[in-house]
Amino acid sequence: MAIFANAFSLITHLDPYTLNDKAIDLDNGGFPKGAWGGISGTHWFGVEPGTGRDLFMRFVHGARTSLVIAFTATILTTTIGTTIGLIAGYFGGWAEKVVSRVIDFMLSFPSLLFIIASTPVLENSLTRFGIEQSSNLRVIIIISVLTLFGWTFPARLIRGQVLSLKEREFIDAARIAGASKWHIIFRQILPNLSGPLLVTASLSLPGYVTAEAALSYLNVGVLPPTPDWGATVLRSASYYQVLPTYMLIPGVALLLLVLSFNLFGDGVRDAFDPKSNRN
């Protein structure tokens, strides 16, 4: 749905940004006209109070924002985490000690708190260098901070896996055959890690979706007018009494998305884990 956001725009002739003063009651605090927050054939999810923007458009385009951030963060953390984990696990010695301590240190950090606090600080220091405050900058910042704290989980997992894999016979065989270290790491060990890697990635993706929504909810997420689910939940929360659909729709959608990714992750784990009971 997120991929086809633009196609939806073509069907409904709407976009997530245009304000629509026809759909709201200008005298009464911009309250949507019509029942259930203005749900109609044109506005499938109703319109936003105050501005009259189409909520369905904001929903599909918002899904895009959330997923772009979550996917990028997942790919980055998995790549970085895997590389560091491989190096630490295979080479051992001081490299492993340093990496392990850093990972322990990062894992014991109250990361969400730190992300909330550091996002505006990071942005302010960037704008001081003449970089304009913009929604894209925010997206980059969010991805960066999520990555900064996220790489430790795959890194620790991979390190453990490598530690046990490198003692196995086929690695010894490769070593005796004169294979280079890099060949062993990337050709022999890495393919054997694809199972756990896919599992962590598919399980961390919903985590990043909720983290991104949480950041937007706490006002340190993407900037307006960029549509975003977390921001929509934030805006709608205060309307829960007078306009329940406004909050329910993005709330339930977020729930379903996270749930489906979690189930997907479980499925992947079942498929790759020989010990689990496949029914």
């Binding site: 605090g29 501005t51 007078v242």
Partner: protein, 587 residues
């Protein structure tokens, strides 16, 4: 005074720190104030009112100042009057509002062409420790405002620029801390015992100076009890209540002052026995408490009434009738205030007057007002003088259609040499202000004017508004209310060119440095006939809006709020705040 612009529907939302005047009881229709120079205590009783009970104040932000010299906020001044008394004050009984003497027994006698004012002091007023309030205490209290002239001022925040501007100061007096042995040449006491008077010499004639003296900066402070900065937490009371305990930003309890005598006070009825204040409460929760009339909110009052958040408006407000719903009529209030809101255009950055006129035409007041509450926010206006003042005049700015005139805007914009993208800044505190920024952007885009909206952290928002330099905003929302009912407290504090410096611009958000306007304001201030003065302020208004196009007037605010069902606070002052003189708790 600066009016923190509120974006919630209610003029005094529970979320906002309202920085408005100390003049509590000046009504929207100032013309209806009569002067009663011989008023004596007790205050006229409110029909049906009973003594006793406890009132709960529930809100987000604490009162910022209790030191009378530092109070410059309607709600605070309103409340501060319970333990501080100024030279004059407003007595209110229903719709009848009178200017009366408070610490003074009369409303002042002007002489020397209104350059000298003499107030006879009211005998029998005592401090909370039983000592008489003497003329020396009044003199000391007034001279404390001059502390802001010191190198390291302590008593900041008050309306001291009026006092330092008006009161004669021949000896370069800088307040009692910086010049402990000096005295303020403009003040003198005469008489003794029950027959004391204070004489105030001014730098120029001020024909309505006895309105100026309603500000709490004209209160008495006893020299031996002046604890400097600490006085802001626990002031010595000469009013009907004393502060029993106070934890800033958390809880404060106020109880009766046993030395206060009703017969010496023509203003305060002082019905409740006790007032308990609880701050740092979530606005959404507070809103629900008041709407549902539950718990302590039953005998409760918001810090400035209970402002209703935009999203909850439909629960209490009937837009078809433009009134409160019947269930809330008895415990609510919906009034027009003298606060005007406008869009300030930075004329030093938006240099082309054609672009400024294009903005005036392109603005869609309807959609912008809708984002912050619709009709309840206020009535559209084309002037920054409220309609209750003599200087108000109805005229057209570009168009009378609140939705704007896009074609006219396009024509002006075509003539403009400046076509770069403009920056509008807003505080990131609420969804309402974000929506407002979006609506503003959309309305200017209709005429092709490019606008970038920029959210500013709410803690630094007001600093950014007055900053000079490349980061200075092009467009920003602002609001103002007079300090007493005269346009002389609107234009000079907002558009005097000397305020615009290299680093900051004070209240002159439009950065206007115009010699013609300065001369126009100087001339208006010096006119003693109120009628002629008002006409001069109308000219200043038209000059700022039509000639300079430095602002786009949006609306004159309304206030909508409710209280608990057991609190009777029908005398809401039209400027935003319950009139504490007359509040009572039903049995």
């Amino acid at each position: 005074m600066r009016k923190t612009r509120l974006v919630a529907a209610a003029f005094a939302s529970a979320t906002a720190v309202t920085l408005i005047a100390s003049l509590v009881t000046v009504p929207a229709h100032a013309a209806s104030i009569v002067i009663d120079s011989r008023a004596t205590g007790p205050a006229p009783a409110i029909t049906g009112a009973v003594q006793g009970g406890t009132i709960n104040i529930i809100g987000k932000s604490d009162f910022n100042h209790f030191d009378p010299t530092r109070v410059y906020d309607t709600a605070v001044g309103n409340f501060g009057r319970l333990f501080s008394r100024s030279l004059t004050g407003i007595q209110q009984n229903g719709d009848v509002q009178k200017l009366v003497g408070d610490l003074a027994a009369d409303t002042g006698k002007p002489s020397n062409g209104a350059k000298t004012w003499t107030f006879k002091l009211r005998p029998g007023i005592k401090w909370e420790d039983g000592v008489d309030v003497k003329c020396a205490d009044v003199l000391y209290g007034i001279s404390r405002s001059f502390d802001t002239l010191a190198d390291a001022p302590v008593l900041t925040g008050g309306p001291s620029f009026y006092l330092t501007d008006f009161i004669e100061n021949k000896t370069d007096y800088k307040g009692p801390y910086a010049t402990p042995n000096g005295s303020l040449s403009g003040l003198s006491c005469s008489g003794s015992g029950d027959n004391e008077s204070i004489t105030i010499n001014l730098t120029r004639p001020v024909s309505d100076f006895n309105y100026t003296t309603t500000m709490l900066a004209f209160s008495a402070v006893r020299k031996d009890k002046d604890t400097k900065a600490a006085y802001d937490v626990l002031p010595l009371s000469d009013g009907p209540y004393v502060i029993e305990s106070r934890v800033k930003k958390d809880k404060t309890v106020v109880v009766r002052n046993k030395y206060w005598v009703a017969s010496t006070d023509p203003i305060r009825n002082a019905y409740p026995d006790r007032i308990e204040m609880l701050f740092n409460q979530d606005p959404e929760v507070t809103n629900q408490l008041f709407i549902n009339d539950s718990g302590d909110a039953k005998t409760g009052l918001g810090r400035t009434g209970a402002g209703i958040l935009t999203q909850n408006l439909s629960l209490v407000y009937d837009s078809a009738k433009d009134a409160l719903k019947p269930a809330f009529e008895a415990r609510g209030s919906y009034l027009k205030t003298p606060v005007t809101s406008w869009l300030a255009i930075n004329v030093q950055k938006v240099t082309d007057v054609n672009l400024r006129k294009a903005i005036q035409c392109a603005i869609n007041k309807e959609t912008i007002r809708a984002t912050v509450g619709g009709k309840t926010v206020g009535d559209y206006t084309n002037s920054i003088i409220p309609d209750s003042l003599g200087g108000y005049s109805k005229y057209t700015v570009c168009t009378d259609n609140p939705a704007g005139d896009v074609d006219a805007a396009k024509k002006f914009y075509a003539k403009s040499k400046l076509t770069r993208e403009l920056t509008f800044v807003y505080s990131n505190g609420s969804t309402d202000s974000e929506n407002e920024a979006l609506a503003l952007q959309a309305s200017l885009t209709r005429a092709g004017i490019k606008v970038k909206i920029k959210s500013i952290d709410s803690t630094t928002y007001y600093d950014i508004l007055e900053k000079q330099g490349p980061d200075a905003p092009d467009l920003m929302m602002y609001a103002w209310m007079y300090d007493w009912p005269n346009a002389s407290t609107i234009f000079p504090p907002l558009f005097t060119s000397t305020m615009v410096g290299d680093k900051v611009v004070g209240e002159n958000k439009s950065r206007v440095t115009d010699k013609t306007l300065d001369a126009l304001m100087d001339k208006a201030s010096s006119i003693t006939s109120l009628k002629l003065q008002n006409a001069a302020w109308t000219r200043a208004d038209k000059y700022v809006i039509q000639t300079l196009a430095a602002v786009v007037p949006l609306w004159q605010s309304k206030s909508l709020w409710i209280t608990g069902s057991k609190v009777v606070a029908q005398d809401f002052t039209a400027m935003g705040g319950a009139n504490w003189a007359n509040i009572y708790v039903k049995k």
